[in-house]
């Protein structure tokens, strides 16, 4: 537990000086606040930008952040130094995961300021679950990738699919059907109804299957490659 705390502390210090990771955490919450307050088009769905950017944030920030943090530590050999100092692989991954999840939840908290107070618990609950799935996928990419360059080329298409499919689904029925198999699309629909009563079994099932697949992929990647 102590080492998890050290990893989180280290990551906070590092992120404050790492603009590329920092911008991923900050960009969507800031854009949401600006767009929601600055743009007001007649007939535009309520909280359009909050819901759209929330899904994009969920599919992008935790996934790329986790993948790039792990890949960078492997590339720069700092991960090896940590393991030599007896930091266990699970402690490291838990530290990074908790850190990214917390920062993303803080970002979601900022985005939630545009919502009515009654909707905030539902919104944060849904976002929390989505972030966890994205973190598992990001960790999987970080484990597979030997360096940051590989991590970027692997995470970019995955991130584009998860982040942009829900947006494109708004304009095309066929894309909407395909996007339906992804957790981000289901979460967009959940954010659309913003109530526990409106949750469909199908939605829960897709999110659960996505989560299970992400976990299986993560464990397979970890078992095959470890943190070497």
């Amino acid at each position: 537990m102590r080492n998890i705390g050290v990893i989180i502390k280290k990551q906070i210090k590092d992120t404050l000086k790492n603009k590329t990771v920092l911008i991923q955490f900050v960009m969507f919450p800031v854009l949401t606040l600006i767009f929601e307050h600055a743009i007001n088009i007649p007939d535009m769905p309520e909280l359009f930008f909050t819901k759209l950017f929330s899904v994009m944030y969920m599919g992008m920030a935790p996934l790329t952040a986790v993948a790039s943090i792990i890949a960078e530590e492997k590339e720069k050999n700092t991960l090896r130094v940590l393991t030599m100092a007896n930091v266990k692989a699970w402690e490291y991954l838990a530290g990074i995961g908790i850190y990214v999840w917390t920062i993303c939840m803080a970002g979601a908290g900022v985005m939630a300021t545009t919502l009515s107070s009654g909707d905030i618990p539902f919104y944060l609950g849904v976002m929390a679950a989505g972030f966890l799935i994205s973190i598992a996928i990001g960790a999987c990419i970080g484990i597979i990738a030997a360096n940051q360059m590989v991590a970027t080329s692997l995470s970019l298409p995955v991130m584009l699919v998860f982040s942009f499919m829900p947006m494109l689904a708004m304009f095309n029925d066929k894309i909407e059907k395909v996007a339906g198999i992804f957790y981000t699309q289901q979460i967009r629909e959940l954010l659309g109804c913003m109530t526990f009563d409106g949750i469909k079994t199908e939605t829960m099932l897709v999110v659960a299957v996505n989560a299970l697949l992400a976990l299986i992929l993560f464990f397979v990647a970890f078992k095959r490659k470890g943190l070497e």
């Binding site: 080492n3 280290k10 000086k17 790492n18 720069k76 050999n77 700092t78 090896r80 030599m84 007896n86």
Partner: protein, 287 residues
Amino acid sequence: MIRANSICKNFPGKQVLSGIDLDIKPGTIFGLLGPSGAGKTTLIKILTGQLGFDSGDVRVLDKDVRTLTGTDKKQIGIMMDNHGIYERMSCVDNLKIFADIYQVDQSKVMTTLTQVGLADSAKKPAMKLSKGMRARLQLARVLMISPKLLFLDEPTSGLDPMTMKYIHKLILDCKASGCTIFLTTHNMEEASVLCDEVALLNEGKIVDRGAPEDLCRRYNHQKTINIHLKSGEDIELPHSEKSAGEIMSLMTQGKIETIHSSEPTLETVFIELTGRRLEDSEEVKYA
């Protein structure tokens, strides 16, 4: 402190280490010399539990290396030749992370930075440090934990002579405090200065071992005396009674500028044993 019997390690299609035996006494500096690709880093990884081995037995701190606990590992400092430094963080922050992990008092961070001569650069991001400063920061990270056993993989590789000397001093200070040091290098001068015992590793096998000066004496086949005369002439004489008379005569005439006995260096011993140079893996003809 370290005992190894018949360690063998194979990578697919290649035997990297074969029948390695070691017995390193506490409080000594042991040097493993060999050219690039000889298996030095692989051996360090095995001895530090980072890499498994195919056969043999390794005991570190009187325990099987595979059963070392977290507490045992906290007594072992490892400095590998690759950096492993958090580039964006300052020197202080780099050390604080490990002070937390090793549960070392935070006051030791500044003490150690002062010890390695980095106190003035304490707040500087690691990415702005020179190569020599980075090496000292890496060394600070392992010295901070006051290890019982220290593994140094090519600690001065690519450094300027001044920094090299500074690091040698730090290593000798560490030894003086009772630490056992396992050092790999392909710098024979470094090995001669620092090590109590060296082993020469070539293609995964230890070809000979001993105290540096003993090894040099053992392979001293030439046994000549080189004299440089004031006239500028160089003379090479064999070790013999006849030479003694000649030297005496030159001395009484005041003709001698310098006089040296010719002994092989670890480099020449290595070339004699393997036909290879220490500093690279290129084959050379042994004349």
